[in-house]
Symmetry: C2
Subunit: 349 residues, 2 copies
Amino acid sequence: MRATILHATRDIRLEEVPDPTILRPTDAIVRVTATCVCGSDLWPYRGINEVRSPRAIGHEMVGIVEEVGPEVRTVRPGQFVIAPFRYSCGECAHCRAGVHTSCVRGGQGWGGLDGDGEPTPACQGEIVRVPFADGTLVATPEVPDDAMLPSMLALSDVMATGWHCAVAAGVQPGETVVVVGDGAVGLSAVLAASRLGAGRVVAMSRHEPRQAVAREFGATDVVAERGDEGAERIRELTDGVGADRVLECVGTGDSMSQAFASARPGGTVGFVGVPHGVEVPIGTMFRSNIGLAGGVAPVRAYLEQLRDDVLAGEIDPGKVFDLTLPLDQVAEAYAAMDERRAIKVMLRP
Amino acid sequence: MRATILHATRDIRLEEVPDPTILRPTDAIVRVTATCVCGSDLWPYRGINEVRSPRAIGHEMVGIVEEVGPEVRTVRPGQFVIAPFRYSCGECAHCRAGVHTSCVRGGQGWGGLDGDGEPTPACQGEIVRVPFADGTLVATPEVPDDAMLPSMLALSDVMATGWHCAVAAGVQPGETVVVVGDGAVGLSAVLAASRLGAGRVVAMSRHEPRQAVAREFGATDVVAERGDEGAERIRELTDGVGADRVLECVGTGDSMSQAFASARPGGTVGFVGVPHGVEVPIGTMFRSNIGLAGGVAPVRAYLEQLRDDVLAGEIDPGKVFDLTLPLDQVAEAYAAMDERRAIKVMLRP
């Protein structure tokens, strides 16, 4: 089969690799229907995270189950399934508590070694071996048509991550929510805040196509300013009080500062961007009672609910995909996202 | 009247100062029945916070209303009142949201300039001018007897602060809670967690008298170890999982590290110690989805409920006072707390 391998900074290639096979009785083999490029894939692609040796990459996919191990109970060949960006056993204390990303058997995740030291394929390829299929995959009642593919694929990471940000921040009906970051996760966080009943959702974005998606997702206001000016605009919009919840969906020091500068006393900052150079302003948190919650999203905990919301037409998170390419153009997919020509690129094997 | 003035590091004196008088129609004058020394008073006393010029000190008191301004509606002369460690207008957006410590009219607090630039007395004295009496003070139905004084006085700061820590951390019935810090606030946090229904409350303390109070307050386990050993003991007590909630009641870098090392993935650290040299481990928070919430406690938000709990005999937070001295021995009170000869000292004018 073919799979995407990151060789070095900006050197990404689709290559022939051996087909994965069932290694354990809890495994499933899934043929990928669609996969995509994540903003976090750009960290190693850009060389900000070092690439020491060639590695398989990609952690988002939907597909059709081809084969299951003898102990798999909840999915069967022929079913369409959504895979979270981390696999999880579903049975340890952390999985049972809904923190599947801390699964004690989760190993290094897609493309790394699993808990037994066996390599797992990554998701930007044609076929994936899924460890702990029961604890990882969620199936749909029927195979969805192509129109629904983007929204199902969005649940694999970005929509569930935006949702986690809003849930971790504690968004309540009627509240004012500011979203920092207009990438696919930030836009998904706008949709999540809106779906959770926020009365006002302010998207901080200066890119018109992204502003348009934010408004489709329920943003009531758009603030194009950043830094001190951005914080001042948020104060103006909130009668000088600040936002009840701020969803930080980038992960840089600047975006975290923007988030804290936008929050009201007693408010909460939710965060889901992988932190790079973030210093938490503990003095501000103390003086103003601003909480900080979030982290790597336990997608599996939300997946059934979000799948049902997509099937019911309540949310349409697939709108974050503004470009679809065949898998053999994966290098162009990375370049398009790197250069911000695309919000998020779907890849079809 | 006499009031406590901090002149320089470890130079604390009771001195004659002018009696305060009503300055604004929303003021009240309160004659102090009891006041006390706070752990946070030790920061300037020890010279860790610089003392640039002599300043009145103390922010906890209960007393009898002597006089009220013409606009005061909720308290009247002769009533026994509890004063939170910050005064608050009760009417601004932050007060209405229950974050009274961010009151826009709160000025510098007791002993500093008020919102109009007028000095306010501090609380370790005989008479206090209370700005915004309606938004600040909470009265009891009757004047309590001396036996109840310590518990009423504890509501002024430490009990409400421990309560805030537990509430901010989101303690739920049945959960496992670890308390870092065995000062009066830490012990109060044990009581708060217990009152909120925690199934297991682990007090981290190596001082026997404090361990004893912790057990009286509902601690089910005591861990004397600190650092890596302390974290290992918490893991042992929780089947390797960690605590659902950790209440950080000190404010140092070491205590915050201890807190994060004790929390389970998906758990929350509550914090109420004034941060001194704290670096928040944002990478750990991200990877393990551990939240951080708390800050300077908005005592006024909890005061009616806690007063009723004391009156009903549900809680007895006054046990944190293990020494009572006349106000003219205030220097000895500071020394006793500084040298950890006393957990918390009550002063009677």
